[in-house]
Symmetry: C2
Subunit: 210 residues, 2 copies
């Protein structure tokens, strides 16, 4: 049930593959974004101060701390996603013998589900922001690291799409129609923008690398 960053890659993969439902796709989506942010940061570092890239130095220096901040946030969201899942499970276990208990339980479940859809929504937003940085890096970054930036974009887009799944699934059990409509619209826009950004970035990287 843990997905903290101090565990080894092996342990994380083992826990993921286990019959425990968490960590699951939600944590992997956040990790995918963190991997994308790390690759964007790497390309920035391989560009800053390098001969032939003086003109983009300031731009890369501005992007680097943004990529690092998104990496940290997504690492935190890996754990937050697992915690949100636990909160939903715990809410379903609340007593429901009396009418008061039923009301309290329903309220707790609905609040937990809203939280469990807002965590992956934030993952998706952060992945969208990484794609914006990946685009700048693909255009101006060190050409020797172009494929690393491309893989970064792939990871950010996969993370965004995976997070979108997790938003949608939780929305299917949420009763607040205005909340559901708002989140559906936000996710649809994020997915469409990300798909477009990914295609543009891959096209830039492929042109540069062949």
């Amino acid at each position: 049930m843990i997905s903290d960053l101090n565990q080894s890659l092996q342990t994380f993969l083992d826990e993921l593959a286990s019959a425990e439902p968490a960590p699951g796709g939600g944590s992997v989506a956040a990790l995918s974004g963190a991997l994308g942010a790390s690759l964007v940061a790497m390309v920035c570092r391989l560009t800053i101060g390098k001969k032939g890239y003086e003109a983009v130095g300031a731009e890369m220096r501005a992007i680097l701390p943004r990529a690092e901040a998104l990496r940290r946030e997504l690492a935190d969201l890996m754990q937050a996603d697992t915690d949100a899942y636990t909160r939903v499970m715990n809410a379903y276990k609340l007593p429901k013998s009396t009418s008061d208990e039923q009301t309290a339980r329903t309220r707790a479940i609905q609040a937990a589900l809203q939280h469990a859809s807002d965590v992956p929504l934030r993952v998706a937003e952060a992945c969208g922001q990484i794609l914006e940085l990946a685009r700048v890096v693909a255009i101006g970054g060190n050409k020797n690291a172009a494929s690393d930036g491309g893989v970064g974009a792939l990871m950010a887009e996969a993370g965004l799409r995976g997070a979108a799944f997790n938003v949608t699934i939780n929305l299917s059990s949420i009763k607040d129609e205005a909340f559901v409509a708002d989140r559906h619209a936000r996710v649809a826009k994020l997915v469409a923008d990300a798909d477009r950004a990914k295609c543009e970035i891959l096209s830039i990287v492929e042109k540069g690398s062949v």
Copy 2:
């Protein structure tokens, strides 16, 4: 320069984001595949022996060891990708004062580049195999874990596409035209098949989850 599985997630992300070129996109592509394989294995485990899924039990039991084998192979390929990069770098550092040295160096570089393109090619093939398993899991697996299978498919496809970048980049410096043509054709087929498989799987998952 290490990408072994005993290091923590935090250390891996830190090394990835550092100015060292390895680990980079190649290792992340293999990790992405391993994450996909883990999620496929998880959905198998959440389906086997579960009420209502008796009819697919045998199928899921057959898929599980294949997903686990691909996960182990991709974990090994993370390290192999970093090693292959180091081998190329070392070949470029060979002496080139005499004609004999130049010939030996060129031969070493070409052999290292072929190896460095065959490692990500195998990553791409393994990711393609995970997508085949993810499709079976999306169709017959536990519906409560449908999004986990969907994220698994996303990770496998992103890993395949990322590995394809790394094949292509190495091919651009390889002189053996037959080798280059063969690998370009293989990669193009893998990318096209994966894109189709991913779209089909996401469509199945989205229909089931909304």
